[in-house]
Subunit: 219 residues, 2 copies
DNA sequence: TAGATTGTTAATCGATTAACAATC
DNA sequence: TAGATTGTTAATCGATTAACAATC
C-alpha cells in the first residue's frame, strides 16, 4: 500500500480523514472521478497539496484523467487502517463516556465498544445501549483476555495517568484521551488527544480577535 | 494587553491553553516563579519557543529571574478572553449535547450554557441539570433576545449547516462544531471544530504505523 | 495525436530553534 | 557587580506552493 518509507508528517495524517469524508460525499452523489483541481475547490486545500499528500502513499491518480473517487476512497481507508476492526473499552462511564458509548456511528465503522468501566458502584452493573459497565478493578484482566485494541479515557484528570498506565500494561495499542490533562504512554502505544477545554479556550481567543461591531449586522 | 499588532499564528494560539493548564498545576503546587528552561522541561516545548510564543503578546518575564507563575497565568487567561463570561446554547440535545450540558467545568470557567434546543418532541420540555430543552423553532429568537455568544452544534451532519446559518443570523460570535461535517460561517464569526471521527481515524493510522510485535511485552 | 492532469522537483513561505545582546 | 535569564534577531528546518516534465 504505502509506496515510500519516509516518515509521514502529522499535518498530512490529520488531513487524510478529511479527504475521506469528502470522497464519501462525492460517492453518494454518484461522482466517479475528480481532478486535484476540482477537489481543491471542494475541500479548500491547494491542488498541489492534495497531489503531494497523496503521493506520500503512492500514485493513486492517472495523468490526464484525475483520481477515481471509489479507488481513492478505498486507498485512504486502507492507509488509515479503516479496513480493520478495533475492539475498544471506555474507562469512566460518566456523561462523556456514556455519550461515546451510545454513539453508534463508530461501531458501524469497525470501532467496537466492548465494555465500559467505572469506580462508581451506582454505575457498575448497568448497561449503556447493550454495553456492560464493569468495576474498574476488572479493567486489566478484561483488556488482556479480550485483546482490546483501544482504551478510551473519560475519567477525571486526577486518575487519567493511572488509567493510561493500566491500559498500556494490559496491552492496548492505542489510547484516545478525553481527560483534561496530558498523559504519557510508551512509544509503542499510539495516543490521540481530544482536549475539549483547550478547544473552547481557543474559540474564546478567536472571538475576541474579531471586532465586535460587525455582529448583528442584520438588525 | 497585546504588545504587537502582527497576526498571531494558529500554532501559537493552540499552545496557549496548554501553557495555562500547566500554570494552574504549578500554582496548585505553590510554585511562584518559573524560567523558560524549567517550563520547557515540564511542558515539552523548547525554551526558545516558549519565549517566542509569550513575546507575541508582551514581555511577561523578567531578565535574570524568569516568569511569575501567577502573573503569566493571568496574562494568558486574559489573552484567551477567559476573564470574560460567555453565554452559550446547545443545538441538538442527543447524547453528546446532553453530555456537554451536564459537564459543569465549563460553567465554572465562565462558559454558561443557557439553553438547549432540539427538534425531537420527546426531548423538548425536559431539563438537563437545570438546562431547559426548547423546540429548535425558538432558536433564533432565543439567541437574539438573550444575546448568546456561542452556539454549540451537536446535530447530525445533514442539518449542521442550517443550524450554523441560523446561529450566525441570530448573532452569535462563535460556533463550536461537533457535527461530523465541515460548515461555513461568515468571517466575523469564530469557528472551532471538534471532529471526533477524524480524531479516531488518525488514532487508527498511528496504531498501524507502530510494529505489532512490541506489544504485550510484559507477558 | 493533442489535451489534460498527474507525479515530482524546485522555490517559497512560515514556524521552530539557536544565538546573543540587553538587563534585571 | 556577576550570574542568570529574558527579549529579539538570525539561522535552520519543515511544510506548502509553484512549475513543469512525464504520461495517460
Amino acid at each position: 500500500m504505502a509506496k515510500k518509507n519516509a516518515k509521514i508528517s502529522n499535518a498530512v495524517i490529520k488531513r487524510l480523514p478529511r479527504y475521506r469524508r469528502y470522497l464519501i460525499e462525492l460517492r453518494k452523489k454518484g461522482i466517479e472521478k475528480i481532478s486535484s483541481k476540482e477537489f481543491s475547490e471542494l475541500i479548500g486545500y491547494t491542488a498541489s497539496q492534495i497531489r503531494q499528500d497523496l503521493n506520500n502513499f503512492g500514485g493513486f491518480g492517472q495523468q490526464g484523467y484525475g483520481y477515481s473517487v471509489e479507488g481513492l476512497y478505498r486507498e485512504i481507508s486502507a492507509i488509515l487502517g479503516l479496513d480493520k476492526e478495533y475492539k475498544m473499552v471506555i474507562v469512566g462511564a460518566g456523561n462523556l463516556g456514556q455519550a461515546i458509548a451510545k454513539y453508534t456511528k463508530f461501531h458501524k465503522q469497525g470501532f467496537k465498544i466492548c465494555a465500559a468501566f467505572d469506580i462508581n458502584p451506582k454505575l457498575v452493573g448497568n448497561q449503556l445501549e447493550g454495553i456492560q459497565i464493569y468495576d474498574q478493578e476488572e479493567l486489566v484482566e478484561y483488556v488482556e483476555e479480550e485483546e482490546i485494541d483501544i482504551g478510551i479515557i473519560c475519567v477525571n484528570q486526577e486518575s487519567a495517568q493511572e488509567v493510561a498506565d493500566k491500559l498500556c500494561f494490559a496491552g492496548v495499542r492505542g489510547i484516545w484521551n478525553f481527560a483534561i490533562t496530558d498523559i504519557e504512554v510508551p512509544s509503542h502505544v499510539a495516543l490521540e488527544i481530544v482536549q475539549l477545554s483547550d478547544s473552547l479556550h481557543a474559540l474564546a481567543y478567536h472571538m475576541n480577535a474579531i471586532p465586535k461591531n460587525v455582529h448583528n449586522a442584520h438588525k
